[in-house]
């Protein structure tokens, strides 16, 4: 089932939580909504589910405008951040809930419901726990019960709100892989919300990066990491360093000095901007006469196979710090001077 979000605006007490957001989700895709808290990612998920109504805009399920459909009519599977399992019901009753509340005519017979529950439990690898209550389960088990419960109504779309947020690191990694396999096996259109970029990059077919109620970039993990389209995405995903620069005469300058980087054809030809690069995408420059960024090591620390140096590259009175990776054998004691040039970088105009 394709899902299209068209020009959605959502206000809470006149404050816009989402502002003119559009997104096309293809059938069978696994999509991550990634952003810092307050970026509107959970609001977008709840709007798709029908748990919130948009102030403006519409949501399409396939060719059908679902904007005015109630949450019940939308037939989505929603997994809540804190699972929202019914504490007074057994695991089996929780999973069967969506089937038992159906009107008499559409409700499967009891034996059929029991069989479906058993199948779902097997699918989430919790067979034998039918009779347990939610408070007798571990966090990871509750998470999977919540997923089975959502799957029981055979939803067209599966929506997960911070699915691994409340779990410890190890269980989180296991469940992440498991969810990917689960998705590949069932082929549902799946959207999940996360603030953990590692989770989004590892798990999703496409990542939707959000900030301040708007979508910054939509793309594969490679797209958003290697080809960020905005300063926000560049600094939000992965480690990065940024340098305020001016461009003129086909030369990029930092505090008036050329740094050995020339703007590319589609970069700005002149003006001020910001140069972004990853700490590992730098080359040390040995020739003291060649143009480069030059900095004094403020601190340096060993990180597994590399060394991270915190450099002050500003002139006296205009300090500017960047962190870069330097080879272990490079001289990087505090106070030494290092000259380098970014090898892969992106220039954003002011």
């Amino acid at each position: 089932m394709d899902v299209s979000v068209k020009n959605i605006r959502k206000e809470f007490d006149r404050y816009p939580a989402l502002n003119d957001v559009s997104l096309d989700i293809r059938s069978g895709e696994l999509i991550a909504l990634l952003g810092p808290s307050g970026s509107g990612k959970t609001t977008l998920l709840r709007l798709i589910a029908g748990l919130e109504t948009p102030t403006r805009g519409s949501i399409f399920f396939g060719a059908e405008d679902a904007s005015h459909r109630t949450v019940q009519e939308r037939h989505v599977g929603f997994v809540f951040q804190h699972y929202a399992l019914f504490r007074h019901m057994t695991v089996a009753d929780n999973i069967a809930f969506g089937l038992t509340v159906r009107p008499r005519g559409q409700r499967p017979p009891k034996t059929e419901i029991r069989r479906r529950v058993a199948d779902l439990l097997e699918m989430v690898q919790l067979s034998g726990l039918e009779k347990r209550y939610p408070n007798q389960l571990s966090g990871g088990q509750r998470q999977r019960v919540a997923l089975a419960r959502a799957m029981a109504i055979e939803p067209k779309v599966l929506l997960l709100d911070e699915p691994f947020g409340a779990l410890d690191a190890k269980v989180r990694k296991e469940l992440r892989r498991w969810l990917r396999e689960f998705h590949d096996r069932t082929g549902h259109t799946t959207v999940f919300v996360t603030h953990d970029q590692e989770e989004a990059l590892e798990l999703a077919d496409r990542v939707v990066v959000m900030s301040q109620g708007a979508i910054e970039q939509v793309g594969s993990s490679d797209d958003v990491y290697d080809r960020p389209n905005s300063p926000f995405v560049f600094s939000f995903i992965g480690d990065s360093a940024h340098v305020p620069v001016s461009v003129a005469d086909n030369t990029v300058r930092f505090q008036g000095e050329p740094i050995g980087v020339a703007p590319r054809a589609n970069d700005m030809a002149s003006g001020t901007g910001t140069l972004f690069f990853r700490p590992q995408d730098v080359a040390l420059v040995g020739d003291p006469a060649a143009p480069a960024l030059e900095g004094r090591v403020a601190t340096s620390r060993r990180l597994a196979g590399t060394r991270i140096a915190d450099l002050d590259i500003g002139k006296p009175g205009e300090p500017h710090h960047v962190e870069i990776e330097v080879p272990l054998d490079a001289l990087a004691a505090t106070g030494t001077t290092i000259r380098f040039r970014p090898t892969r970088w992106k220039l954003f105009a002011e």
Binding site: A49, G50, L51, T70, V71, Q72, H75, V76, G77, F78, F80, H82, A84, L85, F86, R87, H88, F97, G98, V101, R102, R149, A150, A152, I153
Partner: protein
């Protein structure tokens, strides 16, 4: 090396002497102001033997008072149950203008003297009011009749259920309800299968307190009742009349019934707290 037990005392506990002094004070206070009067009620009721005690309940006026008290409770408690759940639901699960005002209003009967609560109805439905004579022209008596007593009782007891449920429902949030709706349940199914089971023990607790107060209310009911024997006297009012007529055995016999109700309430309440403490709201105010 033998340490004296005194040395092992935790640094945050008081000296044994202070502890015993505090406990003794508390128990003595309770005994003097609660247990002693309670015992006196029963002793007085049985002073002339159980024959006299039971004879007191043969009096038609006494029976009428018991019937009226039960009738009032049977009307007031379910109404306040519905009102309490509705109000708690609205306050805990929705955002709307005037929410803080509603929350304050619910507490009003707790902060106002019951006599005032009664007088409000006298002003509303009395001979000098607009509503009273108009209703009377249709043959509906409010004041000095059963409807007035029911109204006053509802007014005095309406915070109990709502107060009990609001913190509980606020703490539980709307997650479970949203989950039920997303699974296709209707609003009614969600309430019946999800919300109600989540609040059942808190609700029972609130109803219990509401009932105890509905049966025991004196002040507000006294103002609106008119004290017509056999017609508008509830048990607490009847106790007062018997007492003023120096009919001590009968007065204390009826009083012992009310006291027994209080004891049963206390026992059930304690049992509920013991078993379902976590499910009954923590930060209670009464």
């Amino acid at each position: 090396m033998a340490h004296s037990p005194r040395r092992l005392r935790s640094p945050t506990t008081e000296a044994p002497l202070a502890r015993y002094a505090l406990m003794t004070t508390a128990f003595l206070f309770l005994a003097l102001f609660l247990l002693l009067p309670l015992a006196a009620v029963f002793i007085e009721a049985f002073r002339k033997g159980s024959g006299e005690f039971f004879a007191a309940f043969g009096d038609p006026d006494t029976l009428a008072a018991i019937r009226l008290t039960l009738l009032v409770a049977v009307i007031a408690v379910p109404l306040n149950l519905v009102f309490g759940v509705a109000a708690a639901w609205a306050i805990a699960k929705f955002e709307f203008k005037g929410k803080a005002f509603l929350t304050t209003l619910i507490d009003l009967p707790f902060s106002v003297s019951p006599v005032i609560s009664g007088l409000v109805y006298v002003l509303l439905f009395g001979a000098g009011s607009v509503l009273g004579p108009w209703l009377k022209s249709y043959g509906i008596e409010i004041l000095f009749a059963v409807p007035g007593i029911v109204l006053a009782t509802i007014f005095v007891t309406f915070p109990f259920v709502a107060r009990e449920l609001i913190p509980l429902m606020q703490e539980q949030g709307t997650g479970d309800e949203e989950a039920a709706l997303s699974l296709g349940a209707s609003g009614w199914q969600t309430f019946w299968y999800v919300t109600l089971p989540n609040i059942k023990w808190g609700l029972l607790y609130g109803v219990l307190l509401c009932n105890a107060r509905a049966m025991g209310e004196f002040g507000a009911v006294s103002v609106v009742s008119g004290h017509i024997r056999g017609l508008t006297n509830t048990m607490p009012l009847h106790v007062e009349i018997l007492y003023n007529e120096y009919n001590f055995v009968a007065a204390f016999a009826v009083a012992s019934l009310l006291a027994a109700l209080a004891l049963v309430t206390l026992v059930v309440k304690t049992a509920l707290e013991l078993h379902y403490g976590a499910e009954i709201a923590a930060g209670r105010k009464h």
